[in-house]
């Protein structure tokens, strides 16, 4: 038998990008990173050495920021002229289809840049009749397609060929889904009320608030990190960035890292060298979070550190994206293989420097 079998037992690949920079550096990409991660599911702030959140950060978390779930919304509503004029063009509109899995079903999203992204199956794509690109994952078998409709274009008005074609496609396929919706009007301090009244008459709308949770840790071992060194030290004076990140993940999951490594259930221990801290606070917010809120928390933590309201050496802000979002950052495609993580963590130091960790799963483009 001349045929051979290659068994590749390596685990599905995931990617982690670590970079360090300073907030004051003009080429710093931290703003772009926060603002282009459109769909955020969970935001977690971890501050060691404090029993409670410092005041500015607390204020940002307390500001209520609700989002809406609209049930059974057909896609033809998204290309409605009034909708585009009043909401898409006049602020940042974030919409993501709810309870649709990106590897099994069709997923639809509206980005704040005004683009409508449809990640559809081959059947739907052929029925839809619009031009799109095959998915960048599993390119050999063209099974999923990504269609992009630019809603903000001047020529995208009723009567023009492009608009009519898109409309006919949506009417023919009768696509609909539940949508998570969040709208940030530009400029004036307008509330998001108008968008709800636009949909309330015809569709069932639910108003939801972000779920907040506070965890307090006591007697926690913290790894020692040096803000200017990511890699290993020669004398074992500080931990590497990867060790620190793994430790933070363990803390977020509630794993006790203080135990000795021979413990039966968990052999994970805090990386050395480490220091004992009396308290630490971890505040999380889960729901549908706009990037603006993440930016506000980041700025609040930075100002607290500058004003010495917060005695800790560093703070960690982790933001998780949706597992079923069609995009991770900006227009980069995101998929789900056995996991759909797309998250980032900012490790903020007192001296205005930071470390940025960006982690994505298998079916993802390296950030």
């Amino acid at each position: 038998m001349s045929l051979t079998l290659k068994v590749d037992l390596s685990p599905p690949r995931s990617k982690l990008v670590i970079e360090k920079s300073s907030f004051d550096d003009e080429k710093s990409r931290h703003r772009k990173n926060v603002e282009e991660h459109y769909f955020n599911h969970k935001m977690e702030l971890f501050i060691p050495g404090c029993a409670e959140l410092p005041p500015s950060a607390q204020a940002v978390f307390d500001m209520s920021d609700d989002f809406y779930i609209i049930k059974d919304l057909p896609l033809t509503e998204l290309i409605n002229k009034d909708f585009i004029e009043n909401f898409v063009k006049k602020g940042s509109l974030y919409m993501l289809s709810h309870n649709t899995h990106i590897d099994k079903h069709n997923v639809y999203a509206v980005l704040p840049t005004g683009k409508l992204i449809l990640s559809v199956h081959k059947d739907t794509y052929e029925e839809l009749g619009l031009v799109g690109q095959p998915s960048q994952f599993n390119r050999k078998v063209k099974r999923k397609f990504v269609v992009e409709v630019d809603l903000t274009q001047d020529i995208f008005v009723p009567g023009k060929k492009n608009y009519e074609r898109v409309k006919k496609g949506f009417q023919r396929t009768e696509l609909k889904a539940d949508f998570l919706l969040s709208w940030k009007p530009r400029g004036t301090r307008q509330s998001a009320g108008p968008v709800l009244s636009h949909f309330e008459d015809s569709y069932r709308c639910d108003r939801r608030s972000q779920v907040q949770q506070t965890n307090k840790h006591t007697e926690l071992l913290l790894p020692v990190v040096n803000s200017s060194e990511l890699e290993e030290s020669d004398d074992g004076e500080w931990c590497t960035a990867r060790e620190w990140y793994e430790w933070l993940g363990a803390v977020s999951c509630g794993i006790n890292c203080n135990e000795a490594p021979e413990h039966y259930i968990s052999r994970y221990s805090c990386p050395k060298p480490n220091k004992l801290t009396a308290t630490a606070v971890r505040r999380s917010m889960t729901g549908f979070i706009a990037p603006g809120r993440v930016w506000a928390v980041l700025e609040a933590v930075r100002s607290d550190m500058r004003d010495n309201q917060c005695p800790s050496p560093w703070a960690a802000l982790t933001v998780h994206g949706f597992a079923d979002s069609p995009v991770s950052w900006a227009r980069r495609e995101h998929g789900f293989h056995h996991g759909g993580e797309n998250l980032y963590t900012l490790l903020i130091f007192r001296d205005s420097t930071y470390w940025l960790f960006q982690a994505v799963g298998t079916n993802d483009i390296c950030p």
């Binding site: 038998m1 045929l3 051979t4 037992l9 590897d103 199956h121 078998v141 539940d178």
Partner: protein
């Protein structure tokens, strides 16, 4: 659409056990199961060659609640696995035989080389299932397997026997890797053949098992989702010349119009494609989307 499926849940009269298995499947994330009747086509006169399909298991609202919340439906299908050894049994599997057509999926388990080749070349089946728990009674050859893949037939690998016994585990892995050398990971479906609820595993775990057999990551995930959907499409077009049409059944019946219903495959002339009968009801046309030849 690419939902996770388990196409081999052995049907038994013990409805309590079957109910537990189906409930566990829902909990693990499967959206489609097929109740499998494994029979040797009978040769006694006066008895139908194959039994009629089993009824779907009744599921309570509580079990279906999580799926309903996500607006998904749970699909229960019926499958017939015919164990064939002689030509006589093979002929009982033609579409003219009424009970055979009433099953959603048709599978065949050949016991010798001749039947295996017949299944790959001629028989109108959707799945070829080989008993991997023992040394295969015949050698696998590339030509019939290639022909089967070209015709759109899938090969099945079951994993529950591997959970039951370590010797069976060795045989299954060895036979599965043998099969992989020929089909290179294409056209494989992974299913359980679980006799108890505890023998079921989650779809991502089963996909990892596929990697162990020799598929790559993408193929392994397909083996539990997309390939199963392809089996269903193949079953729909079984008997017609080439499966190029996806027909959507229209359930509504408007007065004065002949309803459009599924035409049984034309056994006389294999070259005619399935066509609608009667006029189209006003306002609702059957959706015919041309697809690529279903492989």
């Amino acid at each position: 659409m690419a939902r996770f499926c388990d196409f081999n849940v052995p049907y038994s009269e013990n409805t309590e056990n079957l109910h537990q298995i189906v409930e566990m499947a829902i909990k693990l994330g499967y959206e489609s199961v097929a109740l499998n009747c494994c029979v040797t086509p009978g040769t006694k006169k006066g008895q139908a060659a194959v039994p009629s399909p089993p009824k779907p298991v009744e599921l309570s609202q509580a079990t279906l609640a999580p799926l309903m919340a996500q607006r998904k439906t749970f699909q229960q299908l019926t499958r017939l696995t015919a164990i064939i050894e002689t030509n006589e049994q093979k002929y009982k599997l033609n579409p003219n035989n009424p009970p055979v057509n009433t099953y959603d999926i048709l599978a065949v388990q050949p016991l010798n080389m001749k039947m295996f080749e017949a299944a790959c070349h001629d028989l109108e089946v959707d799945i070829i299932s080989l008993d991997m728990t023992q040394k295969l009674p015949f050698l696998l050859k590339l030509t019939p397997i290639k022909r089967a893949i070209a015709r759109g037939i899938r090969f099945e690998i079951v994993y529950a026997p591997a959970i039951r016994d370590s010797t069976l585990r060795r045989y299954i892995i060895s036979n599965a890797t043998d099969l992989m050398t020929f089909c290179k990971g294409k056209n494989i479906i992974l299913s359980s053949q679980a006799e108890k609820a505890i023998e079921l595993r989650g779809p991502h775990d089963v996909a990892n098992l596929g990697v162990l057999f020799g598929m790559n990551q993408a193929q392994a995930k397909d083996a539990v989702s997309v390939n199963c959907r392809a089996v269903l499409l193949h079953a729909e077009t079984r008997g017609s010349a080439v499966g190029v049409i996806s027909i959507e059944r229209i359930m509504k019946q408007t007065p004065g119009v002949i309803s459009v219903e599924r035409i049984p495959p034309a056994s006389a002339d294999k070259r005619t494609l399935e066509k609608d009968s009667g006029e189209d009801p006003p306002g609702k046309k059957p959706k015919m989307t041309a697809q690529k030849k279903i492989k």
